[in-house]
């Protein structure tokens, strides 16, 4: 049997796009935390915007590259955990949001944990989904007690 009904193709495409965007959000965490520079930059479109924190806005691969290198220089280790990720796909673009629990080590070696809301815009270009924009807003943060 060959040929895909149009409606089936559209529904499969939406489901596959949602899966690709879940993966994008997970890759963001893993690339950031594993310090994969090329892998991290490749998650963004060339003209993408990253608002690391409210008011701190980077644009384009060069800006994103230097910002993430700056973050890695300041923070010895990090772990980001994505939860509540929801996406809304409309053809070649989409929006999404998630809550991210981040474990962050400061330069003095102490750790904190914090919850952030990420608000995203995605675009698919040449068949590849990537961030057009991601912004983070912090909620509760607290130090982690030192181990025994």
């Amino acid at each position: 049997v060959t040929g895909i009904p149009d409606d089936v193709a559209a529904r499969l495409d939406r489901l596959e796009s949602e899966a690709a965007l879940r993966r994008l959000a997970a890759d963001y965490c893993q690339a950031f935390d594993d310090r994969g520079l090329d892998r991290f930059v490749a998650l963004w479109h060339e003209d993408a915007t990253w608002e690391l924190l409210p008011g701190t806005v980077l644009t384009g691969h060069e800006g994103i590259r230097s910002a993430v290198e700056g973050a890695w220089g300041a923070l010895p280790a990090t772990r980001h955990l994505t939860t509540n990720h929801v996406v809304e796909v409309d053809g070649e673009s989409g929006t999404g949001s998630a809550q991210v629990l981040a474990f962050i080590q400061a330069a003095d070696g102490t750790w904190s944990q914090g919850v952030f809301t990420y608000t995203d815009v995605y675009e698919r270009r040449n068949g590849r989904w990537a961030f057009a924009r991601r912004g983070a807003v912090p909620h509760v943060q607290a130090p982690l007690p030192a181990g025994p």
Copy 2:
């Protein structure tokens, strides 16, 4: 090409229903934490049951509305993070469970974190998936240290 084989339609419907239920679980967290009253109540069917904690059972939109308003009055801020969400869809109904990590601020301003298991019953009415029942059981809870 037109026409969808019955089996394909059923498989697409199951995948789409699972996606809708993941979204429902995420929306629950975001609506609760962002204090969107109408948005929160709309996640439940009119005759739904909410067991906030073992033994504390609310029924119907009126009961759910007053319970969530009571919770918001007692707790200055909250953040709920859904993990391990699994669903079992059977046509127009489904069941599910998840572990939720909740960050909760008490009236005195102090924060705690806790893990809960949510056990859910979902129904689809008029094409819309919503909670027929959600119950929460607490596991470990601990205070968050105050920030520096």
Copy 3:
């Protein structure tokens, strides 16, 4: 209408396999934490390998069974929360990774939390997806303060 185009069948199968693997990762947490021995062992193929911690490797249902019973004997209670789960399915096999936030109670009653990366190999045999291998690497860990 009957008959499924080959391409549609393959795409549905991939989406359904990804859903089955997400469920497998969630079931691992729930079975471990709820101490469902048969349920936990059934998540693994008969010849599977479990690397609980780097260098601690168990093989086969007997090895996995005795290892999980040992863990349950040593740890009064646990809660594992899966995040960032990504999978790559290729027909009857697949790979995946996730970050897991684990709340662990030690024999003395104190609790800690820690983030782990799980790296997985999955296989589908007789239509059933299960672990062929799972390994855990620890990241940050910290004690939980005792409650008030």
